[in-house]
Symmetry: C3
Subunit: 372 residues, 3 copies
């Protein structure tokens, strides 16, 4: 029987061609399948964990909402319907409501997923509440300073994580509804935060204004890996939602290339970025959430021609290998720095859904990269 | 058959009298019915929207709680039981709990509705939790400055909206239970806020202490329409709950008349008040939430003899017409400035339950006004 | 029949011995039963109130979580399974989630009860989420000043109540899992708060940094009774979870004895501690939450040999009698100062679950005390 099978396969291979092009395609398919398999493994662990223990944080919370963004990307390339079904079910559980703090970007990140569901299922109810909220945001003058006090983060994008939490969701709503005002408010607020938090010497974002005067033990400024990962991933997601002829579009690419060059230059020998970007020795261990976001953003830049493949390809191939090495045997993604707002350690056992989201974002672009 | 009907009606009309008094009564009845009809139209849109989409904000939230106050007034004059039934059902859904931030007036506005339900149904369970909270409030020394920092709004009435959110609920609890301490704490805190936020030159309230030094582009101070609307409506509702012989009662009327004169003097030619009271050109469009509250408060003053009908009658007749003109064909009240804390624009499509509440409050007094 | 019973009892007594030792044992048993009976009376009122009205505050909230700690102690000595069953049911209702503000000690006090349930039922799911949170806490650098601004209480133990809310829960998790890192973070943060809030002249804790410069009308510093009660009870609970050979263990006992001596010296003639410790005349009425915590802590110290029974025995016997006198005929514990953060009055009718918790803690140690 075994011999029969081999003969059968040989015949199939003979008839399907044996040119070098086909051989290359097979290699690509195999690589793409490997990427998809590892993405599904990580995502399946997450879904199983949710099934067994419920979500660790509320379903509307940024922690989960950041994860949903990666899960949706996986849902588009996987044959398993569970990923998109879970997102639809969670959205229904929330009755399409964002979180309680209306103007706090962390609480409306989930609007991204509602809008993706709306694009797929076309039911206006899915974005009705998020639109009302977005209208409220549009209606605010946004004239406050971003100084880190008086709960400014509950009203403005005054910390760098916000650039992942807010812009992709608002700009996607603009794309889905054709209402330019949502893209315009995204644009206005994006550059307000840029003016305040972007360090034009280091090409990195401060986490928030309380860090302007802090320094690491080695004398360097404090730049947080996941924080800048939020920015770069948020940047890529936002550009994807932006009209091709949007007036300030070029500025986003300039910023993206500036940060990409800097980030690539400070990758660690272990393939990851440590939680303190300019003092990697502070916590000398790999970390997967920041690394996942950088891997996603750099691959996105290569895949769309913004970044040079020869220069950046080796960076992301190395960082992807590091990410895959952090997956525990049962599929749990380890080495995610726990919730925080500054450099701090990660361990093999520390996981979190937003780290899974970063990994799946990276995987979604690696899947394209190896298929090219 | 048609001829029979006309003859029948003629006979009825003949026997029910044809004096000028009766004719006037008929006009009054017609006008009152028109007011009621338009109130029901707006409220029915809101109930239908809730049925279809759920509430946009949590049921305990000030947004809805401000709306409930208007719905309850409508419930008292409409034959449709749905308004009061909805309030009872929502209260049950909340298990008679106020919102999560205990001393934040926004989160206990809903106590007003619980107390109204208690007055109707006499079940002590309905106010048991609100009483406990009110006892906690009474027990606080309230000695902090109202300076706009350190989340003071979570502990004191440090912004002018609070004068709608807190005093009507606490004073109504006092009326319903006969416990004078709830009126006394209302009184103490009302005048603390007055001392801090009331501008004795302009006869208007600053929204909060962060506005003392701000100015509009035309050089005027920043006074927000809905903010002062909250105050005047809160003032009327509070006086309604106050014992006739309450020691400081006259002070409330003095304040009311002072503000009423100022507000009437700055009505816009379009019949509304724009969101920046002293710089109406900043957002040169009608706005229905502030206008609703002013229309309510001024009508309340006319109806109870505090304000002169000849002086204030034309103001409210004009503003009422403007409010009615903002109702969209399907019953949605438009031109409500979205959630905010300062002057900002409104559009035909911007609605919100608290704007509906303001409209229904205005309608409830207009209904009396035209019946007189 | 009655005569038969007496004869029967006499025979029993005869055979069970009539030595003075036995007589003493009978007195002890009677006293212990009296303590248990009064504890159950108070707890049963609370359970009945929950059954009838639901919990006044969310189930995850510190108010309830502080109460659960006392209920668990009662559950260990009572034959009525309802106390521990209620805690298990509430924990299930919460799906073993702590409250929404992750690093706010008030919101993870309930982790104590989850861990107690885990120790009993051995299901890792019960502490899975609390462990994740605790890992996040461990991962934070905790380098901020405890100055009372910028919501520091949402990130650090910057107010004295936190020493009850956080340390017992985290250290118990350490004990239950054998992971020393949870005890170590407890230890590190305990002494950070000590350095900031402990007054080394008065041997008392300031409530928070905003009180450093305040004074009572009699010129004394402001020290809040319940606030220092939280500290002393938190101290006792934390030491109970600490390994016997823990390096800094002796420091905790030194602090405990220092505070115990001070507290005993300022007990009021009525057996209680008034809400302003150094200006008892400010609110000259008994208060049961602070008094409950002091009674618990002092009895704990006597029972484990830290405090001298001759010196402290009369203090706690008097304060226990005062606590019992505050129980209303229906079992409601009165004279609990409502939720607050500074000295304020209490009344016969003011109750709260955290006051019940303090009483049950006191009772649990009084039960041991009278059994010795």
């Amino acid at each position: 029987m075994k011999v029969h099978k081999i003969i059968f396969l040989a015949i199939i291979l003979f008839f399907t061609g044996n040119s070098s092009v086909n051989a290359l395609n097979k290699v690509k398919n195999t690589k793409a399948k490997q990427v998809l398999t590892v993405m599904e493994k990580v995502a399946d662990w997450q879904l199983a964990s949710w099934k067994q223990n419920g979500t660790t944080w509320p379903k509307w919370d940024w922690t989960n909402a950041a994860g949903y963004i990666g899960l949706e990307k996986l849902g588009l390339i996987s044959k398993n319907p569970a990923y998109l079904e879970t997102l639809l079910q969670f959205s229904k559980d929330l009755d399409w409501n964002t979180g309680p703090n209306r103007f706090y970007a962390d609480d409306y990140t989930v609007g991204y997923t509602f809008t993706k569901m709306y694009q797929k299922h076309k039911d206006p109810k899915m974005i009705a509440k998020f639109r009302l909220l977005a209208d409220s945001i549009v209606a605010q003058p946004h004239t406050e300073s971003l100084e880190w006090k008086n709960d400014i983060n509950h009203r403005e994008w005054a910390w760098c994580d916000a650039l992942f939490m807010g812009p992709p969701a608002l700009s996607l709503l603009g794309k889905a509804t054709g209402e330019m005002k949502y893209m315009d408010i995204t644009d206005k607020l994006w550059w307000k935060t840029y003016d305040y938090l972007y360090d034009k010497e280091e090409y990195l974002y401060f986490r928030d204004g309380s860090n302007f005067t802090k320094s690491e033990k080695n004398g360097k400024k404090v730049f947080w890996s996941r924080g800048n990962g939020w920015v770069m991933a948020g940047l890529a997601l936002t550009i994807d939602n932006m009209p091709k002829n949007y007036p300030t579009r070029a500025k986003y690419f300039t910023l993206f290339k500036e940060m990409a060059a800097k980030i690539a230059s400070i990758q660690q020998p272990d393939g990851s970025w440590h939680t303190s970007l300019l003092n990697p020795a502070a916590f000398a261990v790999i970390e997967t959430s920041g690394t996942g976001f950088y891997t996603y953003a750099l691959l996105w830049g290569i895949n769309n021609g913004t970044l040079d493949k020869n220069t950046y390809g080796p960076v992301v191939e190395k960082s992807w290998a590091t990410l895959v090495s952090a997956i525990q045997p049962d599929g749990m993604l380890g080495y995610v720095q726990p919730i925080g707002w500054q450099p701090a350690p990660a361990t093999a056992k520390s996981t979190a859904i937003f780290g899974v989201g970063a990994f799946l974002l990276a995987g979604s672009e690696m899947h394209k990269y190896v298929s090219k």
